[in-house]
Amino acid sequence: MKRYIIRRFFLGIIVVWIVSVLIFGATRIGPDPALMIAAPGADEAELSAIRDRFGLNEPLPFQYAIFIKKAIQADFGESVYYGLPVAEILWQRLPASLMLVGAATLIALGFGISAGVLAARRRTGFLNNFLRWFSFLGLSMPNFWIAMLFILIFSVKLQILPTGGYGTFWHLLMPAFSLGWYFSAGYTRITESSLLQVLNSEYIKLCRVKGLTEFAVVGRHALKNALIPVVTLAGMNIVLMISSAVAIEMVFGWPGLGLLMYHGAVYRDFNVVQAVILCISVLMVFMNLLVDILYAYLDPRIRYD
């Protein structure tokens, strides 16, 4: 088990390294960043000064080496657009992102799992159909569009929730719901299929013939087994969520990493873009490790591989 975790950790580092190369490469395609930063009419001297300030005068491999060396010390350079150290901005934004993604995950998991359990337990019926359609609907509408509908309904018409911004619990509700709804369908699907699979297994049959109550069979035995793939999906989805949140953060003016990255890309603020994506990949690797550990808790077969 320990060996397994350490191994995963090393693989994770390799993954992060590949990501860093990819991102670094991607950000250096395209026109000279100095031209985009400089004010109209800047002369060569000004451009050169800008390149100096952001370390753009070195050859690319050098730039990469410097980038990695500094990144290890959590120094991502200075934001071209915001004029602040990227690490500082990142730290400011991370809590908002984690809060949003955390709340959305809870909503998605809560709704998705309960809908999935219902769907797997009774294959037909109004509630099941309703839940299934509800989750499909979340998957079928672009989430920025859901977000706008929420604003229309809850802020403009019903006047019960604040529209945009960040700070209170009430500000979190709409962004978290519009993000969570989109992802709940995936959980419904996977809970349903894995639960069905588990419910058809021999050991669940044994639980039944042992005379356990339906609640004990489904709630204790089946769910614990069926949640294993759900956990995997949840781990993978965290990163997808941070990234899918871009449009939602934009709509609600939620100051998360998604919005930071979006503006970074739009303003060609490469240091920010690199840092955000690298940060998320590290987060992903970390999440995967966490999922592995959780796995071992859920599935004892892994503990002694």
Binding site: L11, I14, V15, V16, I18, V19, L22, I23, A26, T27, I29, G30, F136, L137, L139, S140, M141, P142, N143, F144, W145, M148, L149, I151, L152, V156, Y182, A185, R189, S193, L196, Q197, N200, M236, V239, L240, I242, S243, S244, V246, A247, M250, G258, M261, Y262, A265, V266, R268, V273, V276, I277, I280, S281, M284, V285, N288
Partner: protein
């Protein structure tokens, strides 16, 4: 033989989610015959006919059945042509992603060893890169354009295919029929092409029908962020994005129609994908 084929087709028809299939077929037909169906040029509007409501509203005109947008373009014509853009983008992106992912997944799963390690680490890296964000970045770098979007979406969505296909290939590799093909002396290429690919294909199709919905939504999101399909192309995502203010402003037809169109298309794909997943999975077939 022919009769059998028809019977089989009928049998399948009996089981498919009919509404979803009908909607999808209708949309495809619409996309193909957009040139005949559309009443107006979808890209050039008449500035004098701006923001007309749908025809059944008081101030609407029947020559613009679903109203016009801020630039005086016919919403219906844009919707009709938009089905073409949306479907092309979605299909092309999914085909590109499917091809790349299936190819890499087959290689990784079949050859194992360091080939597998290299491909899968690369895939992991790709999976841990936030898709939409990377899409935004690439879109910004490559600049707006329909085919750029296709390339970006295709280039970011392949990783799931690689994962799935690799897993399937690994399990196929140990199957008896593959072993028997090796015993018969089949070359690697033949085994991959004749024995493994056709068998992983059903998962690829299932995954595609689910991915296509995601691709459409992501495309709309990128467009909303201003880095997707560029104006004046009549794409649904773009219509939604351009007209989104209309929702609060009372010009609901700018948003509701493309929104419903996207939701219908994506739901159809999702329903069909869900059905395929069940239908092609022998486990589900047994319990249905």
């Amino acid at each position: 033989m022919r009769g059998e084929f028809w019977n089989e087709l009928k049998d399948i028809w009996r089981r498919v989610p009919k509404i979803a299939v009908i909607i999808l077929l209708l949309l495809i037909v619409t996309a193909l015959s957009a040139d005949f169906l559309a009443l107006h040029d979808p890209e050039i509007g008449d500035p004098r006919q701006r923001l007309l409501p749908p025809a059944w509203e008081e101030t609407g005109k029947w020559s613009y059945p679903l109203g016009t947008d801020t630039m005086g373009r016919d919403v219906l014509s844009r919707l009709i042509y938009g089905s073409r853009v949306s479907l092309i983008v979605a299909f092309a992106a999914v085909i590109i992603a499917g091809c790349i992912g299936t190819f890499l997944g087959l290689l990784a799963g079949f050859f194992g060893g360091w080939v597998d390690q290299v491909i899968m680490r690369f895939t992991d890296a790709w999976l841990s890169i936030p898709t939409v964000m990377f899409g935004v970045l690439m879109a910004v770098i490559l600049g707006p354009g329909v085919w750029n979007i296709v390339i970006i979406l295709g280039g970011t969505f392949w990783s799931r295919y690689a994962r799935v296909v690799r897993g399937e290939t690994l399990s196929m590799k140990t199957r008896d029929f593959v072993q028997l093909a090796k015993i018969a002396g089949c070359g690697k290429a033949r085994i991959i092409w004749k024995h493994i690919l056709p068998n992983v294909f059903s998962s690829v199709i299932t995954l595609s029908s689910l991915q296509i919905g995601i691709v459409i939504v992501v495309e709309a999101s990128l467009t909303f962020l201003g880095v997707g399909v560029p104006p004046p192309k009549p794409a649904w995502g773009l219509m939604l994005s351009e007209g989104r203010g209309g929702l609060l402003a009372g010009y609901w037809w700018l948003v509701i129609f493309p929104g419903v169109a996207i939701a219908m298309l994506v739901t159809s794909f999702n329903v069909i994908g869900d059905w395929l997943r069940r239908y092609l999975d022998p486990f589900y077939r047994n319990i249905e």
